[in-house]
């Protein structure tokens, strides 16, 4: 193609594309995120009701997980605390935080709505209803280290999204509006069921409330082993479909004109976002804020293109929830959902007010 400006068009001086400042390049941002993740890991293992020296914590990790020849100078109890109690908890926080942030970014993109979060299509109310039913009828069932409540929460989340999807296809509204409103309607219905369960639960109400506020206190290695493959595979599929997410930003028809099989891609994106969300809420309860806000923070720095957005959302979501969980257990087991909002909301407001990157909302 020959270069040149069409006749009649005011000649504009050809300018080199202004370089993105170094601190905003995706590789730099990823390096910062990974460093934060490493700090969150070590701090999350060292601090808690019993503090373990940072040196010992790093040495235990190096010795036990990486097999480095380090002289064992720490008590066995430290090792048990770090490896058996805190490591699964920190990893679970990272999996859930990363997964929710990626699912949120996906929902916002597919629904073309900055207010969407991972819970918008009924996953939250479905999971909550499932968990509360298990509180009312506590059957001694379990699978792969998951309790009955966690199983029902997972099933509830998946069934709710499937229901929303099926019902919205019959709606006569434009497909995205129909999907959102169907999600809202089904969510309200399930929430009514949840309220009923809360009324009936009597003395067990506290258990339901703890699920609704989210907690990582019950994380075990076995749960990590179940959630990790679901969340990691789901996030990988979503990152692999990044191109589809970019095209959908322009709307269905333009996305189709860019070569996208719109209906198929939308189902893939929504299904895997729902799967990741279901795995996260089943194991950790309803942790708010991460899935809504972390994607916006990342977009503010690197822009809306999905290829940098999704991996960076995973990294920062993971680091954010790991730190939030640490802060939640330092004063003695606050629900982590409270901490994510109390720490995250002011931080986000500060960024919205003061950061100027050209990607303001």
């Amino acid at each position: 193609m020959r270069a040149g400006v069409a006749p009649g068009i005011p000649a504009l001086s050809a300018r080199a594309r202004p370089a993105t400042p170094r601190w905003r390049r995706p590789t730099t941002v990823a390096a910062v995120g990974l460093a934060a993740l490493a700090v969150a890991l070590v701090a999350g293992l060292a601090f808690g009701s019993v503090s373990i020296p940072l040196g010992d914590t790093v040495a235990i990790l190096a010795h036990r997980l990486l097999g480095w020849p380090v002289a064992v100078t720490w008590p066995t109890s430290s090792e048990t605390i770090v490896l058996e109690l805190r490591l699964p908890r920190v990893l679970m926080a990272m999996l859930a935080g990363g997964g929710l942030a990626v699912a949120g970014a996906t929902m916002q993109g597919v629904l073309r709505n900055p207010l969407a979060d991972p819970y918008v299509l009924g996953t939250a109310s479905g999971a909550a209803l499932g968990a509360s039913l298990a509180v009312l009828v506590p059957l001694p069932l379990g699978l792969l280290g998951l309790g009955f409540g966690q199983l029902l929460a997972f099933v509830g989340a998946v069934v709710a999204v499937a229901l929303v999807w099926r019902l919205s296809r019959a709606s006569r509204l434009g497909s995205l509006t129909g999907l959102l409103l169907t999600g809202y309607a089904v969510g309200s219905l399930l929430a009514a069921g949840l309220s009923m369960a809360m009324v009936l639960s009597g003395a067990q109400l506290r258990q339901i409330v703890y699920f609704l506020l989210g907690s990582l206190a019950t994380a075990t290695w076995q749960q990590v082993a179940v959630a990790a493959p679901l969340i990691i595979a789901g996030v990988a599929v979503l990152a692999w479909r990044a191109r589809a997410l970019d095209a959908l930003m322009l709307g269905d028809e333009t996305a189709a004109h860019l070569g996208l099989a719109v209906a198929r891609e939308r189902v893939i994106l929504l299904a895997f976002a729902a799967l990741v969300t279901a795995a996260a809420v089943a194991t950790c309860g309803l942790i708010g804020f991460v899935g809504l806000v972390v994607p916006h923070m990342v977009r503010l720095v690197v822009g809306p293109a999905a290829r940098p957005l999704l991996p960076l959302a995973a990294i920062f979501g993971a680091a954010f929830l790991a730190f939030a969980d640490l802060l939640a257990r330092l004063p003695g087991e606050l629900p982590v959902g409270i901490v994510t909002a109390v720490i995250g909301a002011p931080f986000f407001l500060l960024i919205l007010r003061h950061v100027r990157t050209g990607y303001e909302l």
Partner: protein, 252 residues
């Protein structure tokens, strides 16, 4: 080589007929305006040409191959469409919007290559948007945004460019700018251009061939001077008007 042939194309939305059996051929390198009153089926025709709407009858052939047999991506590499306007849900820079035009050429895991970036820069320059690089596309005027969407389609590197009322929201200066650009893309780069237009004068001035639609039928096809004969404008649009062809700028 990229010719588009519509054979007996019919389309209905529910019980409403949008297109009632059209036969049209758009040859490679042509510049064609699609005219007609509101509801005549102009936008429907455009959608049929890219295969995003299932036809109720007939078929569309791209170089002799039915669109239905081509994948969406294969179509997107040969036909680019400039939409009227798009709502962007997030802040996004001009060059990032233009880069979306490379989607049909990208592979899933690989990001844009240096080659893709070069094509995007070229498209930005070609459309005259260099001064807007780095700006949030949502903050531009409608006319500037229209140019961004055209640049996106240029970056798509399809030989056939379809535009849905590219000048509808624009002031006179931007209308002329867009028309000059389309003529130039057609003359110098050899792109086939088909644009749905409301402005008969612009169509008459810039396009050697016009299709006139009314009620889902093709009522005239030829040079604008013939297609827009006064009595036809009267029967089709229901107004008494004459389209002047002479002079530097035509008028209605």
């Amino acid at each position: 080589m990229s010719d588009l042939r519509l054979v007996d194309v019919a389309l209905s939305y529910g019980s409403r007929t949008a297109l009632a059996g059209l036969d049209v051929t758009i040859a490679s390198g042509e510049r064609v305006a699609v005219l007609g009153p509101n509801g005549a089926g102009k936008s429907s025709l455009l959608r049929c040409m890219t295969g995003v709407l299932p036809l109720s009858r007939g078929q569309v052939l791209l170089d002799g191959v039915p669109l239905a047999e081509l994948g969406r991506e294969a179509i997107a590499r040969r036909i680019a469409v400039v939409p009227q306007q798009v709502d962007l849900p997030f802040a996004i820079r001009v060059e990032e919007v233009v880069a979306l035009g490379r989607i049909p050429h990208e592979r899933s895991f690989h990001g844009p290559t240096a080659h893709d970036r070069e094509i995007v820069d070229e498209a930005i320059h070609r459309v005259g948007l260099d001064a807007f690089v780095g700006r949030d596309a949502r903050e531009l005027s409608l006319g500037e945004r229209q140019l961004v969407l055209i640049a996106m389609a240029v970056a798509q590197q399809a030989r056939l460019l379809l535009l849905d009322e590219p000048t509808v929201h624009l002031d006179l200066r931007h209308q002329v700018q867009v028309m000059d650009l389309l003529a130039d893309l057609n003359d110098r780069d050899g792109l086939t251009i088909l644009a749905v237009l409301h402005d008969l004068a612009l169509a008459a001035h810039y396009f050697p061939r016009a299709l006139l639609l009314d009620g889902g039928r093709l009522v005239a096809d030829g040079p604008p001077a013939q297609v827009l004969a006064p009595e036809r404008v009267r029967t089709t649009f229901g107004v008494d008007a004459a389209v002047w062809m002479g002079g530097a700028r035509p008028g209605v």
